[in-house]
Amino acid sequence: MKSAVAGTSRGGLGEWLVLRLSAVYMGGFAIFTAAYFTRYPVHDYQAWMHWFASGYTRLALAVFFVSLIAHAWIGMRSVYMDYLEPFWVRFTVMIMTLLGLLALGIWVAQLLLQVESR
């Protein structure tokens, strides 16, 4: 049985799609970034920040982390729904995961924006 907390009534297909779209983006990002750093190795802080501080990089990273958080939430949730049995345990762990991912998102947002404000 799907409980109200475990998902909305229309959750199924949307989550299925978000899980896969985020996977495709992150996979593409990983391959592209790995290839880029192989082609242009980063040897010092200046080169590193030249890459990181670029608007394109930080935009791509922002999309990456949004994908990552959505992907992690959907994945963790389906694991919880399969293995965490008493409802209150599942509920508590889900809330903690959600808060953790939210905190991570805020942390990443300030990390990506702090460069601009220097």
Binding site: R20, A23, Y45, F52, A72, G100, L104, V108, L111
Partner: protein, 128 residues
């Protein structure tokens, strides 16, 4: 909730259950995914240190030039690559590619072989 728990056969001796390779890869996908999520705070912390200051960046560069740190990094990379390949397998199965029994088994083996090969190649780059 409890009605179906009563009369179903229970045989959960894990040593006697032989999971087919597709099952092994499937559970590995979950385990690696959970571990990668648990590694997230560490990853973002490392990113924060690398961005915050030149001394932080240099400290990380020095840390990741040591053998133990590289072995740990290699393991984390394996987690990612295995999750990547088994995820790719899921995407292909969604597209009806490789869903016959033999192909699905072959694909499952291929994700393991691919991730191990990638780790060996990375090891040559990282551990030399």
């Amino acid at each position: 909730m409890s009605y179906h728990k009563k009369n179903r056969p229970v045989y959960l001796n894990l040593l006697k259950i032989r999971l087919p390779i597709g099952g092994v890869v499937s559970i590995t996908h979950r385990v690696t995914g959970v571990l990668l999520v648990l590694l997230l705070p560490v990853s973002v912390y490392l990113l924060q240190v690398a961005v915050d200051s030149e001394s932080g960046f240099n400290r990380l560069a020095a840390l990741f030039s040591t053998l133990p740190a590289r072995v740990v990094m290699l393991f984390c990379l394996w987690l990612f690559v295995q999750h990547f390949f088994s995820g790719l397998r899921h995407l292909l199965l969604d597209l009806d590619i490789g869903i016959s029994k033999a192909a699905a088994r072959g694909g499952a083996w291929l994700t393991v072989a691919g991730s191990l090969l990638a780790v060996v190649l990375l090891a040559f780059g990282l551990l030399r």
